[in-house]
């Protein structure tokens, strides 16, 4: 009994800790701009200052913020493509690392890790120059490439751990059953590694979706600017006053795809984990 109460209190504390900022952003997004600037510290907007859905409408449709809907499309497109490519490449690479004996295997793994440890900021300058020379500055591909290369190492490490867990016999059984190596990989190994694939996908998507440094440095127009960078360009009628409630509404919109994707992928991960062991 005592334990249960303790557990409940603990869970409550952690929930408050994690969710309070989110809840506050949501509350903020429903307040009118005046309500924020005049000081209105309550959780619910005080009388007559509730904005309803106005902030959301404004962010999504007002001409003043016409770059924001475009940023949503950019973010979704860039993140999804980067995730997809990264997962495909990582799956193939991780499979090779887990299954094949080749020279320089350790070298590949440690280099991959070294890349992941490189601070993003130190690369932005050179990339800026390079991208401009190559003509991919301010394009989707210009962001997809750095996102991929920064998430690949982690994806490869996660996936190769998953592949190592899959018994060799699975693949051998498939080969004896008449599968080519590729068929064995696609029809047996990949489905079995699905939890790993989705874990890698989630991590990659998070990185791409949340990135700010690349997003703001490697873009100049709305052609490729993602949401986090786009939020930095929000200005209200008064240039010295950031439109806090509009920003809040935009932030909430930016959070929704992440939640949706996590929920979808999480189900896949759980389904993969419970699909059953091999041995009796």
């Amino acid at each position: 009994m005592k334990q249960k109460v303790g557990l409940a209190v603990g869970i409550l504390l952690i929930l408050v800790w994690c969710l309070l900022p989110v809840v506050w952003i949501i509350s903020l997004s429903f307040k009118s701009e005046e309500s924020v600037t005049t000081g209105n510290p309550g959780f619910f907007p005080s009388e007559g200052t509730s904005a309803g859905w106005d902030n959301y409408k404004k962010v999504l449709t007002d001409d003043l913020y016409d770059y924001f809907p475009r940023a949503i499309i950019n973010s979704i497109g860039i993140s999804l493509i980067a995730t997809l490519l990264s997962v495909i490449v990582a799956t193939l690479a991780a499979y090779a690392i887990a299954r094949l004996e080749f020279k320089g295997k350790k070298f590949v793994l440690s280099i991959a890790l070294a890349i992941a440890m490189f601070p993003v900021v130190s690369l932005v300058g050179p990339l800026f120059d390079m991208w401009r020379t190559l003509g991919i500055y301010d394009t989707w591909i210009g962001l997809i490439i750095p996102y991929m290369s920064f998430t690949l190492p982690l994806a490869i490490w996660t996936l190769s751990a998953f592949f190592r867990e899959i018994p060799w016999e699975m693949e051998q059984a498939a080969q004896v059953d008449g599968a080519t190596s590729w068929q064995a990989f696609r029809r047996v190994i990949v489905p079995l590694a699905a939890p790993g694939v989705f874990t890698a996908a989630i991590l990659t998507f998070f990185f791409a979706w949340n990135d700010f440094v690349f997003g703001i440095s490697l873009t100049s127009t709305e052609a490729a600017r993602p949401i986090p960078a786009s939020l930095a360009f929000f200005v209200g009628s008064d240039p010295f006053n950031r439109p806090a409630s509009l920003l809040a509404a935009a932030a909430v919109i930016a959070t929704i795809p992440i939640i949706v994707i996590v929920l979808i992928f999480q189900r896949k991960i759980v389904a993969g984990l419970t699909s059953g062991a091999v041995k009796g």
Binding site: Q172, A173, Q175, V176, D177, V278
Partner: protein
Amino acid sequence: MASIDMRNIVKQYGDGFPAVNDVSIDVKDGEFMILVGPSGCGKSTLLRMIVGLEDITSGDMMIGDRRVNDLAPRDRNLAMVFQNYALYPHLTVYENIAFPLRLAKVDNETVDKKVREASKTLELDEHLERKPGNLSGGQRQRVAMGRAIVRDADAFLFDEPLSNLDAKLRGQMRTEIARLQKRLGITTVYVTHDQTEAMTLGDRVAVLKRGVLQQLATPRELYEQPANLFVAGFIGSPPMNFLPATVEGTTVKLPFGSVEIPAEKAQKAAGKGLLIAGIRPEHFEDAAVMDSAKTAGHTFRTRVDVVEWLGNESYAYIPFEAPPEVQAQLTQLEKDLDGEAMRTQLVVSLDGASRVAEGDEAEIYVNSDHMHLFDPSTGENLTLDTSSAGKVPSGDAMAQADEVGQAQDEVSSSAQTEEA
């Protein structure tokens, strides 16, 4: 359907580890062949070479009249049941069984017909829609077999399929496999380390030690005419008793006393000095429950240490001292058989009616017709009747295995030092 002919198969791993050495086994069409031996004898490696999961260093692997050395597993048309079943956990039982057919691009209707047929044979009908994770060990085993029988494979290969089951289920599945094989009449190679499975299932049994074939014969031939100490000790439970013995004329001197043996056997062993006599437990009897006319000249008196009464029979244990040269060979033999070197003792199987109790002095009868005499230095069976011993490889298989064993140990120990 096809025969499998292994001709002088050798497997040497990249680090020089000699896993299989010049093994020749011919599996006839429709035959149930068992590969048996203690762990590390190369039996699984041999099986994996048949199916193509392991490269063949030298020798010819013939399936039917095709040389398959360089064919990929999928081109050999063999079905294999793995030790851990290797079911695909993301597929239902139905799809698991259908998997080989799906890969062969068989149309749905035929797939359905064949899967239902296989599931009926194996009584899996009510589990078809379940995932392997929700099945018991025995059910998984049957699914693995379903996947094998659903295609028209040339042969079945089993890699210790029963070792993950509990004792009772193992017995049931054993008969199930035997029945299935007889019904389908398909060539089968079955790997096991369990001599009971080997004896009960096999048409013929190949006994391997350290990658060297020791004897290839029917279970009965192996039991009655073991080619050497290793085969003698491996086949039979409780195992054959090994006693130090010297032959003088037609009399064999054992630690407990002397018994007469047939002249023909005595002749083969004459003048060899100290030998090892091998007598199976059931070739002893309590003289008190026998006709005294029969037992004359074949009995000795000794003190019984422990008696285990099982109802239909009882086992009596009689300790004895062995001279060092025999002792060394017996200790080595125990090690080769995955056992631990225990005190040297005689195990005799007595009739259930016997009243011999612990600590009693008893008169024990020996049926010396079935006695074998082994050379303690090479382990060779001197009294072997080669006409009814199946195929015994020429040369001294046991000594050869010891040599290979030494080479193996050297490779593994050098690998260990490298790691350290």
